[in-house]
Subunit: 431 residues, 2 copies
């Protein structure tokens, strides 16, 4: 007899099989017990019929509570009226561990209770689905990059110098070397890496000691940074668009069940796999003002402005050519306007906000040095970073994707805390 | 004309192409200039012939120094005597950035100098090859797990409680929540995750504030932890063996060029893709004693003992059934001997030492609680971890692979610092 996973059940119709997993739910109806069974790969309704299985096993099945673990034997068949839906006629069962009353019930729980019980909450169908989609998004990003000649290059987490600003750093005492800081982005380490590997990316946790308490902020989240030699601003945006559309297609193809559980509007997601829009920062400000926003040229956007900019659009929107003074020192000046940089932010539709930040990087040693001095950076700690502009500098570009923001968009999840296994926020380090 | 990567050159023989990259080396011989050109995907010899390219361009080619960046146009052909080796007849070239004298030359440099210049050292052929193999090992591990129904589940890095011992933790002040610690292993977080996803793994950085200065120790390294429901000790070892043999085959298949650059004994690696050996800890001690080691039953092994145990073997060796008192609290007691646990270490051949630690986990609430009390652990901080033994506990097992140790073995690299992009060690946090 085959011990199989629920996901493979369609290959075993009419054959006796063995499943191992947990009870999602039970319902008794006379001589019938319906056990909703799950094993991590999927869920199936199983039917225990008293005359078929016998008195003793039927009584045993009645001991099964919600979230008990159980082994089940039986024969799967397709539901007579619902193609693609399967049912299992149980021929035998064996409880593994009977669960006491499960702390998370169907009634509404507050977010604090759920977060304190995150280790149990992850068993809920929507949380399961979020984690499965996260897996698919993670791997579709890696796949796209690998297929486009990028090599994985793991940037360090413990770093002697901050990447963006220094007010939101987590500090670690590093033996007798003084303080180290948890990385906020691997970008600075990827730039020298393109000089040996051509195109590189990292994909790991980054840290921001931000005191923000919005539904979009985590103190620890996963970021993919990509960097490519000989790629300039336009091509940089093309790579990003190709990648995001690949992720959308992959999620639609592999996660239909998960998206259904999440009640995601799949048609909306399908429409997002079309050419993205592009607008300069200047044009974006004009558009916002025409919509009644009180915003001046040269200013940055908040969540509300991002939502307004993509209002009514099915696809993501690049905002390019940003004012130099509100962007990072490493972005390349626009040759047509020294007050602008060749950077772009990608704003997701449906109000999901910024999911990528990218730019062509300054590749001229003197220009970069001047810019760093202007920003009063400690040049000595960045010497290694400047070196790559000295020894065979090349035009290059890169971008960073916040994994959780992208998963939020794909799954249609409002709160970022639900798309990462164990969220870390200002008031939350447990479990 | 096609702008291509060196790795794809065999598809463009006889056609004019455009390459962009760096000068590995130059050699002049009368009317000929030989430029060894690399672009991150591969290396090719290019030939500049004065009468062909003209006086002016020939003079220009003479300005190219080692590590200068350059664009090259030309027509690739197969080397007349070396099948699979290609050469490019240069028809045009354009220097991008002429490099001053490169700090890393062919003469021997001390490790401190090389590590301080890690951002430049990574361009050396062997370092490039190590990083490419690392990429392949990383992805072959993920692939094997994905193909075997494992779902990626990113454990948190910032944790309120340590996993193994508490003497080697990096501490971070976490707002007003007190101290947090950088994760030493995601295992404890993976165990509750199997209850929703069945089989899970994480793959990320972990941290040990160890003061060891051996060639095998890093303070920050990458670890893959896997955990699977309903998998017991024997099957746990089978999954590990399947995974490692898959990695070996993939590296042999995809990295032949890199292994050649590294002068790796490929035949030895091929032999390692055969059934692994298994020995109990008791038998291992007996074997060591027969070889003259002064070691007692119940003791742990050091690097020397590991090397002795695999001496003369082409394949990796599982040491199983360890004394309980030298292993972690979460390992399941051997039902046949309460002094032993159902744990296994996998020792690589050729002296590369331990690459996996794994075990069946204790799934009985009361037994685990008693064991934790025996170890004087703070039960309250582990309540969430104990919960999974309460609500639908199942037999389960898992294991952890140190990525760098495995890459060391695959590449035959002596020092672990050469198989991670920017190594962190007790005296090393820069660059």
């Amino acid at each position: 007899m085959n011990t199989i996973f629920v996901k493979d059940i369609k290959d075993y119709l009419g054959q006796e099989i063995h499943l191992r997993g947990w009870v999602r739910n039970v319902r008794k109806s006379g001589k019938l017990m319906f056990i909703i069974f799950r094993d991590g790969t999927g869920t199936i309704q199983t039917v225990v019929y008293k005359p078929g299985i016998g008195e003793e096993k039927f009584e045993l099945s009645k001991t099964l509570t919600i979230e008990s673990s159980v082994e089940i034997w039986g024969t799967p068949k397709e539901h007579p009226n619902k193609p693609g839906v399967y049912e299992l006629d149980v021929t035998d069962l064996k409880p593994v561990c009977i669960s006491p009353e499960y702390p998370i019930s169907k009634k509404e729980h507050g977010p604090d209770f759920l977060l304190s019980n995150r280790h149990l909450w992850i068993r809920a169908p929507k949380q399961w689905a979020n984690l499965k989609v996260r897996h698919t998004v993670y791997h579709s990003i890696s796949e796209y990059l690998n297929n486009n000649s990028f090599t994985r290059f793991d940037s360090p987490i413990l770093t002697p110098n901050p990447c963006e600003g220094s007010t939101t750093l987590f500090e670690v005492e590093y033996f007798d070397q003084g303080s180290a800081y948890l990385s906020q982005s691997g970008q600075l380490y990827l730039e020298p890496a393109i000089m040996t590997l051509g195109r590189v990316y990292d994909f790991g946790p980054v840290f921001r000691a931000e005191k923000s308490k919005t539904r979009k902020h985590l103190t620890e989240f996963w970021m993919m940074d990509a960097e490519a030699a000989f790629v300039e601003h336009q091509e940089n945006m093309q790579i990003q668009e190709g990648l995001i559309r690949y992720v959308i297609r992959t999620v639609l193809e592999k996660c239909s069940n998960e998206l259904e559980i999440l009640e995601r509007d799949v048609e909306q997601l399908k429409k997002a796999d079309a050419p993205f829009k592009v607008m300069t920062h200047y044009e974006a400000i004009e558009l916002l003002r025409s919509k009644g926003c009180e915003i001046e040229h040269g200013e940055d956007f908040g969540a509300n402005e991002e939502a307004l900019l993509t209002e009514g659009s099915d696809v993501a929107l690049f905002i390019e050519k940003w004012p130099k003074k509100i962007k990072a020192f490493y972005m390349k000046q626009d040759p047509e306007n020294p007050d602008l940089v060749l950077g772009s932010d990608l704003i997701a539709p449906e109000g999901f906000g910024e999911i990528i930040g990218g730019s062509q990087r300054e590749d001229d040693y003197d220009v970069l040095l001047a810019r760093m001095e202007e920003e009063k950076l400690d040049i000595q700690t960045y010497e290694w970073y400047l070196d790559m502009r000295k020894y065979g500098s090349v035009p290059h570009s890169g971008f960073g994707i916040g994994l959780e923001r992208l998963v939020q968009w794909m799954t249609g999840t409002k709160h970022i805390r639900e798309v990462i296994p164990f969220p870390r926020m200002i008031y939350r380090i447990y479990p």
